[in-house]
């Protein structure tokens, strides 16, 4: 609720989103005052929800190394992440990865997440082409100024970092309210690069995992994004929370008889049929045991299994299967 109360103070967005162009709302001072009052009010309300953490996160978006032939992808990198002021940045990869950092949150948390654009030439406006990158998140609550879309869609601003179609920002900050009812795994991705569709299919995607307050823990968690020719995955160690094994079709590992959780999200144009050979799991939100799942772009599918034997995860899509879209799940 506290986050809701802070909502009218949208002016905060304008102040915090540092713009390259000179532009301020004419009543900025008044709104700034309002914001202070509201933040005060918010702080008071926060007291009775002491478990709710505040996350301050900064991501950058950059080009990856080329494929040897001059073709590059884009990727997010975690610059810093503090939880109630405590840094946890060392959990993340020190370099930009595909998928991007997995951001683990708990229902009730609040997030301020900003994006810095490190793609060369991003600050130079070009008519008809957006050079912005943004963070459009699924699942959690945010107001229209944190939609991470271009003005042509949201009718407010080009909500990203770099030269948009109409506006340029050096850094853009989004506020997420990880409200009750948002538990689950959700995608975040760019929505602004080049066109209003963004560059989610060029590597700018990642996941957030919103746990309910009393959530069980897992020995390992795996995020597997199903793309049009590969799984883009990563692994989170349940003990030290470190994130590793980023990349295409990663080999995942688990200790025998430990509980592990898979977070599948699809992305691109293909429709997929996911299978983890020899395993069954509960279809999310039901009591039905299944051994494969149909997944379309930006759908999510989260399940847990007890790691009993090594296996292979695959996409049964005709072409992707032939193309070798699969990876090892090693249990030892």
């Amino acid at each position: 609720m506290s986050f809701q109360i802070s909502r009218p103070c949208c002016a905060a967005e304008f102040l915090e989103n540092s713009r390259a162009t000179q532009w301020m709302p004419h009543n900025a001072a008044k709104q700034l005052l309002m914001m202070f009052l509201l933040v005060l009010a918010m702080s008071c309300l926060l007291i009775d929800k002491s478990f709710a953490a505040e996350h301050i996160i900064q991501l950058t978006a950059e080009e990856t190394q080329d494929d040897g032939f001059g073709n590059k992808l884009l990727a997010y990198k975690m610059e810093s992440h503090t939880v109630d002021g405590v840094p946890i940045t060392d959990r993340y990869s020190a370099v930009a990865t595909i998928p991007g950092p997995t951001i683990v949150l708990t229902e009730g948390d609040t997030v301020k997440i900003s994006i810095l654009n490190a793609i060369p030439g991003n600050g130079i406006p070009t008519p008809g082409i957006s050079k912005q990158v943004s963070i459009h998140v699924h699942g959690v609550h945010y107001d229209i100024l944190s939609d991470g879309t271009l003005k042509v869609i949201n009718k407010n601003h080009d909500e990203g970092a770099g030269a948009g179609l109409e506006e340029t920002y050096v850094v853009y900050e989004y506020k997420w309210n990880v409200a009750p009812g948002t538990a689950g795994t959700w995608a975040y991705h760019d929505h602004n690069f080049e066109t209003h569709n963004g560059a989610e299919h060029k590597g700018l995607f990642g996941a957030i995992i919103v746990n309910p307050i009393e959530a069980p823990s897992y020995a390992k968690e795996y995020v597997l994004y199903m793309g049009d020719d590969a799984f883009w995955g990563m692994e989170i160690n349940g003990t030290d929370k470190k994130q590793s094994k980023h990349g295409a079709n990663p080999t995942l590992s688990a200790k025998e008889n430990t509980n592990v959780r898979f977070h599948l999200i699809a992305l691109g144009t293909d429709l997929h049929t996911f299978k983890l050979n020899g395993y069954r799991w509960f279809d999310p939100g039901t009591d039905n045991l299944i051994n494969q799942a149909e997944i379309g772009p930006l759908e999510k599918h989260v399940f847990t299994v007890k790691a009993r034997h090594s296996s292979v995860y695959v996409d049964k899509n005709f072409s992707n299967q032939l193309m070798g879209m699969r990876g090892q799940f090693n249990v030892h």
Binding site: M1, Q4, R7, D67, F69, G70, N71, L73, I98, E107, H136, H138, G139, H141, D143, I144, D147, T149, I153, N154, K155, N156, N177, A179, P180, G181, T182, A183, G184, T195, N197, E200, H201, K202, G203, G227, D228, D229, A230, W232, A248, N249, A266, L267, G268, T269, L271, P284, G285, T286, G296, P297, L298, E299, K300, F318, S319, L322, M323, G324
Partner: protein
Amino acid sequence: MFTKQEDRHLNDKDRKMSHQHISGLTKPLITAIFFVITLLTSSFVLAAVHNISLTAETLPNGQVAYAMAGHEAVIPGPALFVKQGDTINVTLTNNTGIKVGFKAPGLPLPSSAKVEPGKTKNYHVKASKAGTYVYHGNSDGKELLGLFGAIIVDKAHGPVDSYVNADGSIVPITQADVDKQFVLFMVGSTFWGTEISSDGTQKPLWANPNPGAVTDDIVRFHILSIGPGHTFHLHAHRWLKTGTHAIIDTKLMAEDSDTHSFTVKAGTGVGAGDWQYHCHLIAHMEAGMHGSFKVDPIGGDGASVVGASPYGRILLGTKNEPGLVTFEVSDEPASWFRSARGDAIVTLSDPSAEGSPLQGGDIKTRSLEVMSPGSSVNFIMSDTNGVHTISSLLWPTGAHHMPFDQSSAYRGGAIVKLDTPGLYVFTCKVHPYMFGAVIVDDPNTDGLDLGNPAANYTIDLVTGINGLPTSSDLAVRLLKTFFIATSPTNWQDYSSGLWNVKFPTLPVRISGAPFGNIADDGNGYKLALSALNVQNQSLAVGNAPTTPGVGEVWINTQFEKTAGKYKPGTTTVVDATNWTVKRKVALPQINNNNPHNMWSSRDQSVIYQTQWFDNKFSMINRENGKLIKNIQVGYSPSHVVTLPTTDDITIAINGENGISVIPAGTTKVTKMMPTQAHGHISANPHGHWVSADGSKIVTPNINTDDIGIYAANGDIQARTPTGQNAPGAHPIAIGMMPDSSKIYAANLLHHTLTVVNGNTGALIKTINLIADYNPINGSLIDNDGNGELAVGVLPIQSPVSPDGKAVVIASTGGQIVIIDTATDTIVKSLDCDPGCHGANFGAKQGGGYYAYVTTKFGNRLTVVDVDPNGDGNLSDATIAGYVSLVDGVDTAKDDTVIGLPGFGGQGVLAVPNVYNGWVQNLPAAWKEGLTAAQQKPIGQ
């Protein structure tokens, strides 16, 4: 007691809704009767019988749709709200020109049979299960043009749905709680909407609307789909996945038909805003599949914004609102982008169409549309088995929303709003002769605007050429190409002896004095395109070559129509020893679809053939033309080549991102070798080649504008761009030196030939095939200084002769260009028929080689002798003769030719295969017909 009363109220209200449009009678009496019945039935609800009269109608833009009888036809069709257990009796009267049925997948329906035009039929649907159901016209794909609607079956008692509140609580709702409902149909890459207000009134929102609500309104969405699959995503809202406790914000809509109903509290937890909704398939997003859910602050009116309407501002439109023209994407020759009213436009514009507003317009193409600025163009892949893109080729200078393109080929459709007046031509990047044109005409100017009136009527091209005058020779050539490609009556039919080309008589407004001779009438330059007409030009096939060839020539006559199948295309086998058509292979049993290119097995007993507008690949017995096997290989397979070392089959999957491999002697794809690194844009390879030593597979990557060099195991060795830093080169076919020292790639849209080092992939040279051509006035001057006036417009296949001396380039603009590989310069260009396309070499009897050249919009084979006297000097290259591809009385056939005889020449294959690397592996019987030099083309 309270609950019961509420139920009764709900029940009453629901019936009012669903019956509102059923008859013209006013409702109070009926309502009263229902109310009494409801009271009498007290705690249980009587299963109702709904008698519904529907008609199927043709809309002004040619789309077809259902109407509640007596009302306007709408897309989606009227939403039918019933209760579980109810019966729906539908009386359907078909007022369209096609057969229409009524089918409701998932609900018991004894018959969904189609009803003939002008006839009426009854259908009975039992609403046995609660849920949301598609109903559709069951019309062989035409239902995707608008014959679809929703049946919403709610439980007779209790809540109809639940929503997720801002605090995370799940709140059940009854129908009475719902402030408004939206039906959003996902079809192709377009949303079709209907708004249903709380009193049950239905309002069409048409294509890609912006549904509106006020913050905290309870809004029920009914998402339905028909055709290829989608995912539905609405920004900043969450809801329950039907039948589960899972909270989602994106939902798969599976292929064929699917439904998903959910309820949200508008803006809950997130506030007011323009919240985008869209399909989340990236290709569909790029194709325009989105709108906004406009959530107003409390106190706002929550009004929806209507999208583009089939009745709106288009040629012959009936309403003053943003309009929509629609093209069906088809596998049908010439009608690849067929206006939904294409047949009607051809008929209405005929000189004999008395009383027609278009009489005498003489429009022979079904691929041209005219509309006003601010209207939209819609594409639906309803008549194709392939994958495509909908990509702009040219547009008025500086036009909004241009270029329009998608980053990969897909199944679906496209929609784009066109604000700037002028001509827009769309193509498919995978099949780049599919054309659809839209003239966006400013109604305040005289004549149809071909360019942007605000920029002196110029156009921009996808290749980076901006501000091209519409009076220029190049613009006129492109226009001619469009009108010839899309209208078979303009093709060169040698069996008729005459050639006529008719362009529309409609006056057009262009940049300046066009085609030489018209003057400014004080109001700019305009003329009728029919000034370009060709009248009764005589056509003769010409003589066959005097020296026979060796073996057979197999030609994919890809447009030829036969009686036994719906899809076009045959393979025409020419006996090279006597230049007669020996056989037609149509393969009606598999509905053989657009056979495009071929290769032969090592022993020459099996012909491999791709179906370019499908996902299939055929193996054919060469001797008897019988089908051996039809195999799924991936979407839009284009070319096939074997590895000379192993005889394994490699197939370029033009609609996707790899090369499929079938091991020799087997009939199943074992792997698809990616043509790009993981996660990179699909290369979409077209006409690949394999090095003589089998070590390299070389692809022209049409989507990434580069040449890809891959090891036989798939390792990527090089990706060499061919565009010289300009966009849209579109490399389409590869030729390779017999010693693999050089690779040649024809760039269709740049009119260039790229030469790269066969070992390293390093760029050696880019040969400009139109250096001698002045695109503004059309004059030819020897600008490249080679002593020849030679031009190759829109080059396609470009094989290197087996002895490595010549590259022969079939150019679709109507030229055959010959390159000397010793100097990599043009030595000659020869005339070719319109749509010149395929080329491949075969052995000439007694030594030397013929290049067999095919054309799409003509029906003869051109036989080129690149070096008649065999002295290695190519300056005497000449056309040795022609062969008609029309079947004769002695032609063996597996089906009867019924249209476009011998047309659509594309892939061509000489048997025996005499290329270096392959010729050495021929069985002895085949080698006997070859000279010693032909058996060792480079002396080894």
